[in-house]
């Protein structure tokens, strides 16, 4: 109960501050000031986000990350990082990636905390392997973490419903994957967008309404990222539709095998 409450508080703080930081140029005219809308904006936002990621990771770790979970997730993360290379083995259109599939299925099968860890740590380990450690990494970690965490919420909301174990469950998961395929790109663009934006009163209109700035952001998004994100969304839908049933069965089987308990008194 304590860990549930603690987790809830931390997640509310992290989600609110993370989203407020990323959406600041939409909501606060001050954030469109040229001093902040250029190089410093992504770095300061990255700093806030890395602190949010640390907070969430520490909370999850404190809530009981035992050696079984460490080994289980460690291997799955290595596998998921390896799946990024599978993209090269079986060529597909740009943006298509099997990485999100496993993050979603882990979050859906083992809950939000495991989902967050799977998403965030996959990005971190991939960054280490590919030499991709940079200011973009905290944004990737938190967004991929949210993908896994929200998959846990999806499972909680479907729990006990008549859709569970039926084809409708896969359809819901596929739609969820498609939705995140688009949203992931949009969130990552929020971080990057002020880099490419002009000085104050230009690309970000300092006195413009929220709707007008959303319009400008949308134009930028359509021009630079939409095709890429649509491909990722379609890829997620296809991969989840074709593979999730088999992978969910494998996870159910291993969930039982991983649930061995250690008798502390005997081990001491």
């Amino acid at each position: 109960m304590r860990f549930k409450f603690q987790g809830l508080i931390v997640n509310i703080i992290v989600f609110t501050l993370g989203i407020l930081s990323l959406l600041a140029p939409f909501m606060l005219p001050q954030a469109r000031n040229s001093d902040f809308s250029n190089a410093s904006f992504p770095i300061i936002v990255s700093l806030i986000i890395i602190l949010c990621v640390l907070l969430t990771l520490f909370e999850i770790q404190s809530a009981g990350l035992d050696n079984k979970m460490v080994a289980f997730l460690g291997v799955l993360i290595a596998l998921n990082a390896g799946l990024r290379f599978l993209e090269n083995a079986i060529p597909g259109p740009a943006g298509l990636s099997p990485t999100f599939f496993l993050i979603i299925i882990v979050g859906y099968s083992f809950g939000g905390r495991m989902g967050f860890l799977m998403g965030a740590m996959t990005m971190f380990v991939s960054g280490l392997i590919t030499g991709g450690v940079g200011p973009w990494l905290p944004g990737q970690m938190i967004t991929a973490g949210w993908v896994g965490q929200s998959a846990g919420l999806l499972h909680a909301s479907l729990k006990g419903s008549r859709w569970q174990g039926k084809p409708a469950e896969i359809v819901v998961l596929a739609i969820f994957g498609g939705f995140w395929g688009l949203l992931y790109g949009a969130i990552m663009n929020l971080w990057f967008w002020p880099f490419l934006a002009g000085a104050s009163g230009q690309t970000w209109l300092q006195n413009a309404s929220l709707a007008e700035n959303i319009g400008r952001y949308s134009a930028y998004y359509v021009a630079t990222s939409l095709i890429w994100d649509v491909t990722r969304a379609v890829g997620n839908i296809l991969i989840i539709s074709l593979m999730s049933r088999a992978v969910l069965k494998i996870f159910t089987r291993f969930d039982r095998r991983f649930s061995f308990q250690v008798n502390q008194e005997q081990t001491q």
Partner: protein, 339 residues
């Protein structure tokens, strides 16, 4: 220069420099230095490949950034051509000032990318992993497990793929991934099960070994709020010292909290960085240069860091202080390279 701390000092000093300047001449100097340093650090991985790849990236970023800014921003006095006003968002005059502003953005992005690329080249994966604070020991173990299993999983993927191809699987469609993924997943989870049993048998990290971390958690929440409030107050033009105070307070709390939580973890360091004479020299030089940069920024000495082509196109100003400070990313070039 081989010690992680020296490279972290180099990264921080160069990052502060990059965030402080929009002068294209300084940015060019920084990028050239990063290319020279990167080419030296990439010696083992293929110097030519690294340089070509990053030249392509820099060129693409320059062009893309300049084009996007010109397309959406219609401010400036030097008109290149005009599109009808009724064309949604892109209609209006296309100006040289916007083009240049976008190109400067492209230079900043390229320099930032190169900076982290050189950092990744200079430190091994183990060194970067060791930078994770001890307070996150279970996550560090998880990262180490992933990095250890990664080559084996790659090898297993290759074997399964070859076996599937021998059986006639063409490996052309997404549905062809499942015969690879399913055995790969089962095999990997069997490995994870064995590993977790071995760890349990050796008494590693039972769940109730974890100390009560509520205070640490509260400390971390305070750090996040301090950073966020400092940024917000700066946005609303409150005196800079309040933000600096909040950032400093946050930094102190973060260090204390991580040190306290780290002490509770029993970590054995098998590999320690070997501080050589030149690492000490480089570290001292980088700290001095970083301090000089911060003093220049705080006292608002005229270093010619700021530049904007608006409202009128002018040549960027270059000062001796600014030029000297823009050499910070090149400091490692003064020292002998070690693989």
């Amino acid at each position: 220069m081989t010690v992680s701390a020296t490279w972290v000092a180099w990264l921080v000093a160069s990052l502060i420099l990059l965030l402080s300047t929009r002068n294209p001449i300084y940015l060019f100097v920084i990028i050239i230095l990063l290319f020279i340093l990167g080419a030296r650090q990439a010696r083992r991985k293929g110097r030519h490949g690294w340089v070509h790849q990053n030249l392509r990236f820099t060129g693409t970023m320059l062009i893309l950034s300049a084009l996007i800014n010109t397309l959406f921003t219609h401010t400036g006095q030097t008109e290149l051509f005009v599109l009808p006003d009724e064309w949604l968002l892109i209609g209006g005059p296309f100006t040289l000032e916007s083009l240049l502003y976008g190109a400067v953005n492209g230079l900043v992005i390229s320099a930032l990318y190169l900076l982290f690329d050189v950092f990744n080249l200079s430190l091994s994966i183990k060194q970067i992993t060791r930078l994770i604070p001890h307070a996150f020991r279970p996550l560090t173990v998880m990262t180490t497990v992933s990095l250890t299993f990664f080559p084996a999983i790659q090898e297993r993927t290759r074997h399964i793929r070859e076996a599937q191809m021998i059986r006639g699987n063409p490996m052309e469609k997404i549905s062809d991934w499942l015969p690879i993924l399913a055995p790969l997943l089962v095999g990997s989870l069997e490995d994870a099960l064995l590993l977790s049993e071995s760890m349990t048998a050796r008494g590693f990290h039972a769940r109730n070994d974890q100390p009560d971390n509520r205070l640490v958690l509260v400390g971390l929440i305070l750090v996040v709020f301090a950073a966020f409030s400092g940024w917000l107050l700066r946005l609303f033009a409150y005196p800079t010292w309040i933000s600096i105070l909040l950032y400093s307070l946050g930094a102190v709390v973060l260090v204390v909290v991580l040190a306290t939580a780290g002490k509770a973890q029993h970590v054995t360091s098998l590999h320690q960085d070997d501080w050589r004479r030149q690492d000490e020299l480089a570290f001292t030089l980088l700290m001095a240069a970083g301090l000089g940069l911060i003093v220049t920024l705080v006292t608002k000495l005229d270093a010619g860091f700021s530049y904007t082509p608006f409202p009128r196109l002018d040549l960027p100003e270059v000062t001796l202080i600014g030029l000297c400070l823009s050499l910070i990313p090149g400091i490692p070039l003064l020292f002998k390279h070690h693989d």
